[in-house]
Amino acid sequence: MPAGRQPTLEGLYNQYSGMLFSYILQFIPDQVEAGELLVDVFAWLAPELERGIDPTSSIYCWLQVEARKIVLAYLRKKGDGQPAEQGWRDGAHKTYYFSLLKDASPEHRWVFRELFIHGRDRDYVAGRSGKDPAYVSRLLQECLLLIRKNLG
């Protein structure tokens, strides 16, 4: 990215902190804890900006994907190496991306929750549900297409 277009941490905070905070809240409903994770994300971002960021992708989507990695690493650490359940609460299936899956079956929502919120891999989810990994991939695909449809 040309030097003149390189975003600053201040600029990214002003533009994306609220968006990232609500994004993190779907993993960690506690506002104080989610606020700490937001601090972690921006503290991680500072040296990344010094190295320069990829201009071809959307900055927000890149931040969102990286924030999810940081949140999942935190939840794994908190859960003693295992993907944690603490970030989940009964009402969470209605919030954020789950609001786009309101027409999906409970099985679809469960698969999306396991893969997206808990960061589990498809083989693990398949093993846990007693289904084929291809079946899990198909459910994920249907969830993603439903998200795209409801976003548009």
């Binding site: 190295r51 959307s58 893969l115 994920l140």
Partner: protein, 163 residues
């Protein structure tokens, strides 16, 4: 390759949300320069995601900005990078190496080094002053010793002449 079918597989959404496997991600990135439809589909979906995020925006708790600034000030760059990479290794579940990158002519160090530098600087000045003082004292002592030696030589010669 039927690119429309590929797009219908949900790969664009999977990629944008960070749900693609390593293989799927690499394949998508390799195909993107050759198929402008992929880039368009990705841009469209990312735009929709961003609009959705704007609609659901929640202001972060008060003081978050200050805490970020404090964290960046307090954490040396090297430790931040090491910590991040350590986290990445845990996530990927494999052993790895710490990549050392050299991207700037400046370094940032912990602020304890500032105090340490001042202490070392003051001590060096004290040692320099002491060294000069001891050298001057040594020269005076040497001159005194030489003078005494000359006096005792003069006395001995006087005694010898008197006999």
């Amino acid at each position: 390759m039927n690119i429309e079918l590929y797009i219908q597989s949900g790969i664009v959404e999977s990629y944008a949300l960070g749900l693609a496997t390593v293989f799927e991600r690499e394949e998508f990135e390799q195909l993107m320069p050759h198929y402008p439809e992929l880039k368009t589909a990705l841009s469209d979906f990312e735009y929709q995601l961003e609009l959705f995020a704007i609609e659901h925006e929640i202001p972060p708790p008060a003081g978050t900005r200050e805490r970020i600034e404090a964290r960046i000030r307090e954490t040396p760059v090297a430790r931040r990078e090491q910590g991040h990479r350590r986290g990445s290794r845990v996530q990927e579940g494999g052993a790895g190496f710490l990549n050392v990158e050299y991207s700037s002519n400046h370094i940032r160090v912990h602020k304890v080094w500032k105090t340490l530098f001042i202490v070392v600087f003051i001590l060096s000045k004290i040692f320099l002053a002491l060294a000069i003082w001891f050298y001057v004292e040594y020269r005076h002592a040497r001159q005194d010793a030489r003078r005494l030696q000359e006096q005792s030589t003069g006395v001995q010669e006087g005694n010898a002449g008197g006999r």
